[in-house]
């Protein structure tokens, strides 16, 4: 007999069609899935579903249309600082794809790609390549290692190494649309069962639809191809550190030619002191100020001295046949950076003794790591917000943002933690806003800080990349209305009843 609650009816129908294990409405589960680290209340889902196949996802979408229930797909739910596992709105049914759809469907050694379900983590893929004694390597993030490769790419996440543009390295998807259709993108859209180009070509006949499913709510991606790079015989991580905040302009201008010429094949990061050191230390003055003030200059200097790092540390890696083969390139890179007239090179053996630099060593050599996330313990209370603004790789521009953003953080009594992840033309400036979520005043300051930073970048014509769920509407409102309407039109066409995560990325 139907109840008056569509979620209950939906859950009963799911259990009847997919089995009791495929859905839960247990309080302890819903409470956990509603938790996040953002400066707002937890967002409790109405249920959590665990599909085990594309067909099961299709069933969930069909039933969601029938009962007018909203779904919220997640992969491994490791998006800490961006919403974790919680839906964008209370009552949405979390579709946890990672629990049972975590198979590596193919590893093509010859062409260098893999095909994955949403639950395959960086750690699992790394382990699988090692088990196969594969010649290929992954491009891990700086953490968490249990994060989903597929979801990271769809959310425009970045990694390390030469294949760090994860969405750029994805190719060919299978997607369940909100109207219940299952489509294959690219060459996979050919009728028939054999699609040798599906995961190797992006230039098939007709529109390239893959982009529609990155940072959107138009469908649920259930498998995807990812390109993998052959592991070079030798990978030489490099580090340089510079003493002053204002050195950033010169550093960025030195990075640009190294990336435009591809002299350095990996992304190059220019990371500030506290972003690095917070993974190894907790805020030394928090107790004294009750978190009301930012770390003093003296406290910051003391931490830098302790770890032998300056205001900015540059990291990247070179590839070659051997240590000896890359040595001339390394010397060239060193001359290039040290021509700034200040700073120093950190030799690899010294870097290996500096805990916070292990993150870059591991990730640039294809090894997943969790070390960077230790930064979340910088302040007590577990609050974390990531803000990823972009910027042209022009020293003056990036440094200008640095000055203003640093001031905004300090005005809100929060530390300025920034890592600039630099490509040839674009740098993603990853800000970590760490705060005590158990302190209402500090939480309010963190929220205000995020919004002020978001306004700063938008007013300068620069948009965020990834964004926390509770700010999706805030950012969508910063766009031109025509773009927002276009998104809504696509949504209406592919998901007419709005069953897939309405509100996600601000798309209704």
């Amino acid at each position: 007999m139907p109840s008056n609650d569509p979620i209950i009816d939906f859950a009963s129908a799911v259990a009847a069609e997919l089995g009791a294990d495929a859905i839960t409405i247990g309080d302890e589960v819903l409470d956990r899935y509603g938790e996040h680290t953002l400066p707002g209340p937890d967002v409790r889902p109405g249920a959590v579903a665990y599909p085990d196949s594309t067909a099961a996802v299709q069933t969930l979408v069909r039933l969601a249309n029938r009962f007018r229930v909203q779904l919220y797909p997640i992969s491994n739910g490791q998006n800490i600082g961006l919403g974790t596992r919680s839906p964008v709105r209370p009552g949405q049914v979390v579709v946890d794809l990672g629990r049972r759809m975590n198979r590596i469907l193919e590893v093509n050694e010859e062409l260098g790609y893999c095909v994955l379900e949403p639950g395959v983590s960086f750690r699992a893929m790394h382990d699988e390549l090692r088990r196969r004694e594969s010649r290929l390597m992954i491009s891990p993030t700086a953490g968490p290692s249990q994060g989903s490769i597929l979801a990271n790419a769809l959310d425009k996440g970045g990694g390390s190494g030469a294949y760090a543009d994860h969405f750029g390295m994805s190719c060919g998807m299978e997607v369940v649309l909100g109207n219940g259709d299952v489509i294959r993108t690219g060459d996979g859209s050919l009728a028939g069962d054999a699609h040798p180009n599906w995961h190797v070509s992006k230039y098939s006949f007709g529109p390239m639809l893959d982009g529609l499913f990155s940072q959107s709510n138009f469908g649920i991606v259930t498998r995807m191809g990812m390109w993998l790079m052959p592991r070079p015989p030798h990978i030489e991580p490099f580090f340089f550190t510079f003493p002053d905040d204002e050195d950033l302009a010169g550093i960025i201008d030195r990075i640009r030619p190294l990336k435009q010429t591809n002299f350095v094949p990996t992304l190059i990061r220019a990371t500030n002191d506290l972003y690095l050191l917070s993974s190894a230390a907790t805020h030394p003055e928090y107790a004294a100020s009750g978190g009301a003030r930012t770390l003093s200059d003296e406290g910051r200097a003391a931490l830098r001295r302790e770890y032998g790092l300056g205001a900015w540390t540059v990291s990247g890696a070179l590839y070659g046949a051997s240590r000896e083969a890359v040595e001339p390139q390394l010397e060239r890179v060193a001359r290039h950076f040290l021509a700034l007239g200040k700073g120093r090179r950190i030799p690899l053996d010294e870097a290996e003794r500096i805990g916070p630099l292990h993150i870059a060593i591991n990730s640039n050599t294809g090894v997943p790591t969790d070390s960077e996330l230790k930064m979340l313990g910088w302040r007590p209370g577990g609050g974390a917000i990531w803000l990823s603004a972009g910027s042209p790789v022009v020293g003056e521009v990036v440094n200008g943002f640095q000055r203003k953003a640093r001031r905004i953080c300090e005005d809100h009594g929060l530390e300025y933690l920034l890592s600039n992840v630099c490509g040839a033309r674009f740098a993603r400036s990853v800000h970590a806003i760490l705060y005590n979520r158990e302190d209402a005043a500090e939480t309010a300051r963190a929220d205000a800080c995020y919004r002020a930073l978001g306004e700063l970048f938008a007013s300068s014509g620069v948009f965020v990349g990834r964004a926390p769920t509770m700010y999706h509407g805030f950012h969508q409102a910063q766009r031109m209305p025509e773009f927002v309407r276009a998104c809504s039109s696509i949504k209406a066409a592919l998901d007419p009843n709005g069953v897939i995560a309405p509100g996600k990325y601000g798309i209704e």
Partner: protein
């Protein structure tokens, strides 16, 4: 009902639980959550149960006992936690409360007492093992812990780790150091060959093993079962004997081959913090404890070539990796002697041994053991190595690949006998180059298996 844990310790456990801010990284690395996805079988769920239990005067609920019992205490969650939660304090405190409350049915309590008593008393364990072997056929069919103990008594590793009837003479260098070597209650009966190998290795490098009378049990097993009172008695006795030997210069270090013990001994200062009079002696002992692989790296050990190129899948015992944070020392010690150390998948997950876990939770332990053995055997290694006997016993039940303690391989590579199952190994010309592996430490940056392009 009266509080049964000392107030200060209860506060400490509560504080540790309160430090959890629910990031949730721990769930993905918790073996029981990975198996079944049950929230209450995740660290966050267990912390919530422990917090509720310790905040109430009511007896622990059946639910709390069930899910806290299912925890392996592997501490994988603690390694991953970004908030620095001391999960070991929480789980030990919760278990102490459960034991003190006597909520378990009488037969369970009697069984747990018997197991604790037998495993920490070598004489009783020897008799128990003999009885289990006699009754093996029938005992294997018993349900629950009794059947599990019978199955463990048949594990291939027990034969592989048994003492050699005719021990080969150790080639001794002149002794320049004297150390104590922790026997380990269970290991001294079930895996005597491990410490025999350690003694040979140390003797070869001029380190003499000095017996220290009166050291019986470190207290680890009882602590993890919630039997804190008897655990502390053992700890105090151990501290007093070792401290005396250190103070009068009979030894300068305490070497362990049982990381499950060492990871608890390294916590003695916290565990015995309510014994301020003992603090100096405890600190002396804690500082002196070293894993055999840490010591081995400092010794002048020359490889004979016998184990050159041996493909060893290395399993990180949780007590080494998460408890002692020792991941590199064993790998470096083996690699330095020409052993080809291979990494295995899901190295962060427990094998299911976990002290008495595979006795009291045999079904979960079996699934974890099968999963671990499959990963460890996947690269077709010559041997599966680990630094803790319990892991070797557990893994050996699910794979035909020989198993050996790390110290057996170090001993063999420097002149000792081949571990059982490896007698026919033929040295290979060169070991495979190191392969990037660990997340906690920097990876190696060179491999020789690159593309021809280079």
């Amino acid at each position: 009902m009266p509080k049964t844990i000392a107030i200060h310790r209860q506060d400490q456990v509560r504080a540790a639980a309160d430090a959890c801010v629910h990031f949730g990284f721990c769930t993905a690395v918790c073996p029981t959550y990975v198996l079944d996805g049950e929230e209450l079988d995740s660290p966050r769920g267990r912390i919530a149960l422990a917090r509720e239990m310790l905040g109430s005067d009511a007896p622990p609920s059946e639910t709390a006992v069930r899910h806290l019992d299912r925890c392996l205490s592997c501490l994988s969650c603690e390694s991953t936690c970004a908030a620095g939660v001391s999960y070991r304090d929480i789980i030990d405190g919760a278990r102490e409360r459960i034991e003190q409350s006597r909520v378990r049915p009488l037969p369970q309590r009697m069984l747990r007492s018997a197991v604790a008593r037998v495993l920490t008393s070598p004489a009783l364990l020897r008799s128990g093992l003999a009885a289990a072997r006699l009754l093996r056929g029938g005992a294997l069919r018993l349900p629950g812990p009794l059947g599990a103990m019978a199955a463990l008594s048949a594990a291939p590793a027990l034969a592989a780790l048994a003492p050699r009837p005719k021990a080969p003479p150790a080639r001794r260098a002149a002794a320049v150091r004297r150390v104590a070597l922790l026997d380990g209650c269970a290991q001294s009966v079930l895996g005597a060959e491990i410490n025999a190998a350690a003694e040979r290795l140390l003797a070869r490098a001029g380190v003499a093993v000095e017996p220290v009378a009166g050291v019986r049990c470190c207290g680890a097993l009882e602590l993890h079962m919630g039997r804190r009172r008897s655990a502390v008695r053992h700890m105090e006795q151990t501290v007093s004997r070792w401290a005396a030997a250190l103070e009068d210069g009979r030894i300068d270090a305490i070497v362990t081959t049982t990381s499950g013990c060492a990871s608890v001994i390294k916590r003695y200062d916290a565990l015995l913090s309510d014994r301020p009079g003992l603090a100096a002696r405890i600190r002396r002992v804690v500082d002196a404890v070293r894993d055999i692989t840490e010591i081995a790296q400092e010794l002048a050990l020359a490889p004979t070539g016998a184990a050159q190129g041996l493909a060893a899948s290395y399993h990180d015992a949780c007590s080494l990796k998460h408890g002692l944070k020792l991941a590199q020392a064993p790998r470096r010690a083996m690699a330095a002697l020409g052993i080809d150390v291979r990494e295995i998948g899901e190295s962060h997950l427990c094998c299911g041994s976990a002290g008495t876990y595979n006795i009291f939770e045999p079904a979960l332990a079996q699934r974890l053991g099968q999963r671990k053995a499959a990963h460890a055997a996947a690269g077709r290694p010559d041997v599966i190595a680990a630094g803790n006997m319990g892991c070797l016993v557990q893994i050996s039940r699910f794979t035909p690949v020989p198993v050996a303690h790390t110290v057996q391989l170090l001993d063999w590579a420097t002149g000792g006998p081949a571990p059982r199952g490896l007698e026919n190994f033929q040295p290979r010309a060169a070991a495979r180059a190191d392969f990037p592996a660990q997340a906690a430490m920097p990876a190696s940056t060179t491999a020789d298996n690159g593309d021809l392009l280079w």
